[in-house]
């Protein structure tokens, strides 16, 4: 139809595999986000999408556009670094916020504070 017509198979195949893997990981992450029971479990699920879900699709985009533009197109790496460095910061705050709120409500199965931990280890 258009720009996709002249692409050789050795480019198209890895691009297709990476795109399918990436989007499947993102979907699995959100399925986990909806199905898992406790908040701490749910904190793990979206990392599927934000680690290799993003990574695979960015790699595919780099590969495809490097071929289409016939020059190395690498600026996707910036977006990858942005996502990889920033999402953990959000999750870190969310995990700590959940812990503080659970402690304030005296919820069961919450570990005691790291500060008052002299006896263990």
């Amino acid at each position: 139809m258009n720009h996709l017509a002249g692409i050789p198979l050795w480019i198209a195949l890895p691009v297709a595999v990476l795109v399918v893997t990436g989007s499947s990981l993102a979907l699995l992450g959100t399925i986990g986000l909806v199905r898992l029971r406790s908040f701490y479990d749910r904190l793990h699920a979206p990392t599927l999408g934000t680690s290799w879900g993003v990574g695979a699709i960015l790699l595919a985009s780099m590969l495809l556009f490097s071929w289409l533009e016939s020059r190395p197109v690498l600026h996707e790496a910036l977006l990858g670094i942005l996502v990889i460095v920033t999402t953990p910061a959000t999750y870190l705050f969310l995990g700590r916020a959940a812990l503080h709120r659970d402690r304030a409500e005296n919820a069961p199965d919450v570990p005691k504070a790291a500060a008052d931990d002299k006896a263990q280890d």
Binding site: V17, G22, A26, L33, T90, F93
Partner: protein
Amino acid sequence: MSETLLTAAFLYAQITLGFAGCLAALRVLRGPRAQDRVLGLDTLYVIAMLLFLVTGMRTGSLFFFEAAIVIGALGFVTTVSMAKFLLRGEVIE
């Protein structure tokens, strides 16, 4: 051959990501607690960014990448400030 392969892969990715976005939005709506909503919102931002990237590849336009980078930056700033608010806003002070 490679054209059909790529078209099918992009179509699959767009449908999958659209569905994933719906699920993330479901978590935002259902909660039950504030941190669940923020987590869902952050996921929604990442999914939207991926959808833009796939759409960009499908149309062959580099323009979508710039939109994706704006979504990525905005998504981080919004969700991290909300998460920080949850940490500071109610319980601690």
